[in-house]
Symmetry: D2
Subunit: 439 residues, 4 copies
């Protein structure tokens, strides 16, 4: 086990059970415990987000870095990148997390020009591969950072500037190569700059055409490589861009349908992006799942009273329970996983806080998994739901749904009946049932 940057954690975080008072132990996450037909680790497929956990500095729009990380102190950029990669695998091992995720620019410094940046990336991919081999830790997904560099300030794949768009395309090519080299099971697109600041300088239609080309070229390239990874798009409504084109699940699916890309992509749903879109995490999960498009999850939580991506660690048991119910109902996330796209607060400046944070997130999802599994087994909600919709299984309901009855038939039928009688939707009773499972 690597033991260089987090020396105060001298062994992997243990599972100690619900009554432990040890803040550096799991209360619920017991990786080999069977829940239904899979272990907790197989269900949850946790992943560390390299950018937040390794690179997060505590900086925000009104202040510079507040963290001092030992692995970020080397003056040579490549050495710093290597130290950071080592810290990443040390952290993964000590947390007992099997997957990691990265952006190209996270793991390798930008060079003076594009070719140099690519060279740095290749070298760091080699470094990461070595650690993967040594530790057995795998890559959940890779992606390209098409939002940080100033050239992307007016869009990347949708940029009005052909040179910029070309650079975005080339960058994605290299990021796909890197992800393939590391055996990534998925590749993610998050279009932080694919959108507009104002319609008064924007040609919406042209930007959509560019996005279409951009995605199509990536699909073509992946196919040419014969690379079997799942492409994922991660919706977000705004921030940094005022209006992002992939604003939520339905909007993204519409874009894919409209432009002939539907079969090539699934969605990576993030909790905080859902709430910024004026929706709930579970709504976005449910929409994606109903379409057979729920591919992976960025597991975090937002603050519904704040209008930006706070990317807090998921700790709300209600939320993790709802999420796990949808995930269990669709038979798991397949090649996807639960990636902690979450960061410790600016005031949590001690590296040990990274452990508290991940432990909390893992326990919250483990508890959610346990509750969800039990509720599904007990048909705690589904029994009521099935009954609620049962009137369509026969009579006029069946005739309507089967396409047998026309509007005129239905009109005639209704005129011959008394007024309909409603059954209660029982929201309050069901909310109480959920509480009885959670607490």
């Amino acid at each position: 086990m690597i033991n260089r940057f987090f020396k105060n954690i001298d062994k992997p975080i243990p599972y100690e059970g619900k009554d432990s008072k040890n803040p550096l132990a799991f209360k619920y996450y017991d990786r080999n415990k069977k829940v239904g037909n899979k272990t907790m680790a197989e269900h949850l497929r946790f992943s560390v987000a390299f950018w937040h956990t390794m690179l997060g500095s505590g900086a925000d729009m009104f202040g510079g870095p507040s963290f001092t990380r030992e692995w970020r102190t080397a003056s040579d950029p490549m050495q710093r990148a290597k130290d950071t990669m080592e810290a990443n695998f040390e952290f993964l091992q000590k947390c007992g997390i099997d997957y990691w995720c990265f952006h190209d620019r996270d793991i390798a410094p930008e060079g003076a020009n594009f070719a140099e940046s690519c060279k740095n990336l290749e070298e760091m991919v080699g470094v990461a591969k070595k650690y993967q081999n040594e530790t057995g830790i795998k890559l959940l997904w890779g992606t390209a950072n098409l939002f940080g560099n100033a050239i992307y300030s007016q869009g990347a794949g949708s940029s009005p500037n052909a040179h910029v768009m070309a650079t975005a395309i080339a960058q994605v090519k290299n990021a796909i190569d890197a992800t393939k080299e590391l055996g990534g099971e998925n590749y993610v697109f998050w279009g932080g700059r694919e959108g507009y600041e104002t319609l008064i300088n924007t040609d919406l239609k042209k930007e959509m055409e560019k996005m279409t080309r951009f995605f199509q070229m990536a699909v073509d390239y992946k196919n040419k490589l014969g690379y079997k990874c799942q492409f994922l798009i991660e919706p977000k409504p705004c921030e940094p861009t005022k209006h992002q084109y992939d604003s939520d699940a339905a909007t993204t699916l519409y874009f894919l349908k409209e432009h002939g890309l539907y079969d090539h992509f699934k969605l990576n749903i993030e909790a905080n992006h859902a709430t910024l879109a004026g929706s709930t995490f579970e709504h976005e999960l449910a929409v994606a799942s109903a379409a057979g498009k729920l591919g992976s999850v960025d597991a975090n939580r937002g603050d519904l009273l704040l209008g930006w991506d706070t990317d807090q660690f998921p700790t709300d048991i209600y939320s993790t329970t709802f999420a796990m119910m949808i995930i269990l109902d669709q038979g798991g996330l397949g090649t996807g996983g639960l990636n902690f796209d979450a960061k410790v607060r600016r005031a949590s400046n001690d590296p040990t806080d990274l452990f508290y944070a991940h432990i909390g997130g893992m326990d919250a999802f483990a508890k959610g998994l346990l509750v969800a599994q039990k509720m599904i087994e007990d048909k705690a909600l589904s029994k009521f739901i099935d009954e609620r919709y049962s009137s369509h299984n026969s009579g006029i309901g069946q005739q309507i749904m089967s396409g047998k009855a026309t509007m005129e038939d239905v009109d005639k039928w209704v005129r011959g009946e008394k007024n309909p009688v409603l059954q209660s939707g029982r929201q309050e009773m069901l909310e109480n049932i959920i509480n009885s499972y959670i607490s």
Copy 2:
């Protein structure tokens, strides 16, 4: 001219021009004035919303009616309905508005059972038709109220209850008949109850299947009738239902695509619904227009600091200008129009306030039309926009867009170039230009 309920307005509202101080005159709306190749009336196709203007009572969630309307005083429901219809046409004539819109339950009282309600509706359609013939005023669109009655509290076309769903279908059949009889150029679907209060008692997929059947049956019926009106769906994210399925333009278009209904519908975009969806009016118009699906507009405005549908009259010249630019750019609204789905405030309890409100809305759009037309003629924005996107007309941009270049080609090209150079997006300059046209 009818002259019974608004006797203090003894002639149609005149156009008096910008400097008039008469609050009962138009400052900008001059119906026969040519703007480009159409008159203002032809461009704007204003419509009165029967429900707000004739039936609005000033009631809100915390208080009962605050208006006393002479046309709502008859004790017999059918007489009250007839008086109200007369008031409607009197108001239309005096405002100089050519179109009106209604829900079935607006114009005719509900009877003791469905058949009786249908009979009332038929009778009132006859009354309305007579007024239409006498005045030359036309029906922009009709719709069915599938949200007011208690039976729809858990959905109408998506109800879990087969009897309720059947009733919704039958009601739509009769509303389509009524709209056809009145020569309605469009028929609107707004699914105020088509959504969920909570996912814990909901089967999302089954509800989508029901919605699909519901819409498909209406399409089939219209086709069978050989009725050429345009079907429109009006998106709204929430209220009354926590989450409505047709939450915004893109979501609705996705639903239509996914369920084979795309060709049969356009959208009726409402300003206040757009802002409730966390978007701008112009964004929703632009999305619908880019898809060739902008069919009609519910012209009002919301209060972005309030989280419900305030349905205020449109008075913001920036907003009406942006709207008219998009409408002019797509060559007008076709069979659609600008329907004032707006209500006077609870404190505006004088019937004359209805005139102030409509005059203000009409003038705001007339001014918006004038500004938009001038800006388009001057290429005030479009010249900059065209230049902004011009780098895709040749070189690598063209190769990318034409599909000639692969990712690998682009990668190679980028490696041979210097870093890209960006041109300013000029948002501030363009905002100043807009101000110079507006003020």
Copy 3:
């Protein structure tokens, strides 16, 4: 025990403990169980909101009543009022709730004029008093409905119309009389119409002067009566009015300070009003409590993704735990209580849903009480907090806080020191600790 309207509930709701599957039993609320030095009933002082529970019809802005309540069927208004009062006490007894709350217009129908309304109120107060005496149930607070009647559409105590303001004052006088007659421990002011729709027709300063007079007259009258009840103001930012003057706790306290009314009022904090104000329930509780002004609580929950008062029953254990920590920390609510200002959903149309809803709310607060008490006993958070602030107990911290050091002294001291070193705020660790107590 009254047994007329809720015959399917034939005995008071029993406590059956955590593992009960009976939806009509308490899982946590065990009224005589001692928690610290008080019983659960003494801590929680639950109250039923007459308006929602007895009068709630399921109506919303887009639909009429969806509930049929047997106690609302009598055609004579006074008989209906009496039946409703009986149902109220039957419900209170069967739920095992000790307190109720009402608005004057809830319990007695409005008459043709003000005097008649007062007469109806007096009669119904007599009816209520009889039930109170028979059941031992008490009045937590009374209030006047100054928002429902059309005359209050432009304000009540702040109305620009002197006759309206006079009516509001007279109505409050009679409501105070009624509350006194029923032994109410508090009297509440919620100014749903005390605010403005638009500043363009408003004189803010004059409206503040009116509000001041209005409150002062109520204080004077209470004093003259020698009536010892606590006056409470209930903040809310908007709805129905665009901007209400008592928008949140701090704003209300500022108004009271500025206008010489501070000593005469405490606050009644509502969860949903807090979230509408862009704040959290616990923030508003904390602000009120820190000022010694937390008098009572309207216990409900809102939906942070919806912009109106959804008034849902409180079921979130996190929220009830935070609330109870603040309440325990200040030694309880004194004469106040936890009033369920909450309503069952429009789709929950069965009277039994009222029981589910109250049981859920009571259990959620009982669980919150148990968790809060344990966390306080264990110093689960407070130990960390005390240490976090300990540097002000000596040295330069003490000199600053005691007023001994001037700015110049501090400047000199800082120049002689090294840069400060920060300790982690440990938010994630503390969040995990809370989860370990809750789940």
Copy 4:
């Protein structure tokens, strides 16, 4: 005139009038034009915000700098500071703006320790003073940056850490000294970190006591210096901190009242902070003005659909008109002014965009001033408002307001009257009147 960094602007921006098509000319702002009894320059007292205009880099939470500014290229920090100061005065002269504002850390680089930072500040104050003398440009206000440095991540004046609090106090001392030396007419406090991230690690009461000491020490120091500048607090609800204590005007005024600081402070109201607080710019201005506490304005605009401080330049004529009406009504801003706390968009990467932006803001306020002055002269709104409140000038209204009538008197009077009759609030008519002045 300085002519080094903005050479393409070779003379001060001219006034060319409404019909000019020159984007580098004023359409409305004519500095010496008399409006009422003052010139436009005297009314508007524009100020450049050093941090945004000189230091703004286009960076956001998802991307680094996108601007290249010639004045930020020197490698030596003090030389860079001096170049920037020169650019500042060049920009001020060329825009024809008379005032500027700064934070201590804007104008001088931080040194290795506090003493060194103070030394740098002193030197740069000398540089600035020289430019002020040469150009006649004045300092509107100075302030201390108590939010950027990592030590303030848990608060500055309210920090739980005594050393941090001491540093904040010392920093303010030196910032006051700097402001005094430059003849600043005001000194501003914005407490970006004075608040909490979570209540679970916070002692609200202790933090309030610290804030009180912090402000009191500044007051004492200013008095000791005999320095006559106005102290201003700038409210903001959140960002960077989840909850800031000075969240809006009323909350801030409550804090000042409660802690004996009321007489020593006025408010600096920012448009975007008002909208983040769930309120309007004009509401916050009106609250501050009604209390006699409107001291200065941070003139910008937010995006009501985005939940963070977008700090856009003010271009909405409605908003500038409402602001100027309130400012004119209180007789101007006294020592305060209109400070453009606004930044060009990330995509506006050309230094000339800084000119477009300030020209747009100045013209928007100049137009707002002209409209406001005309509406006030015409009593366009005030005539209606005065009539609306006139019923309190006699009869029962007067008796209530004068304190002559008791509740019982009013009750008796109301019982003798018929029901009150309401006059319309005329919101729609007044909105139309405003449009007739603006367009």
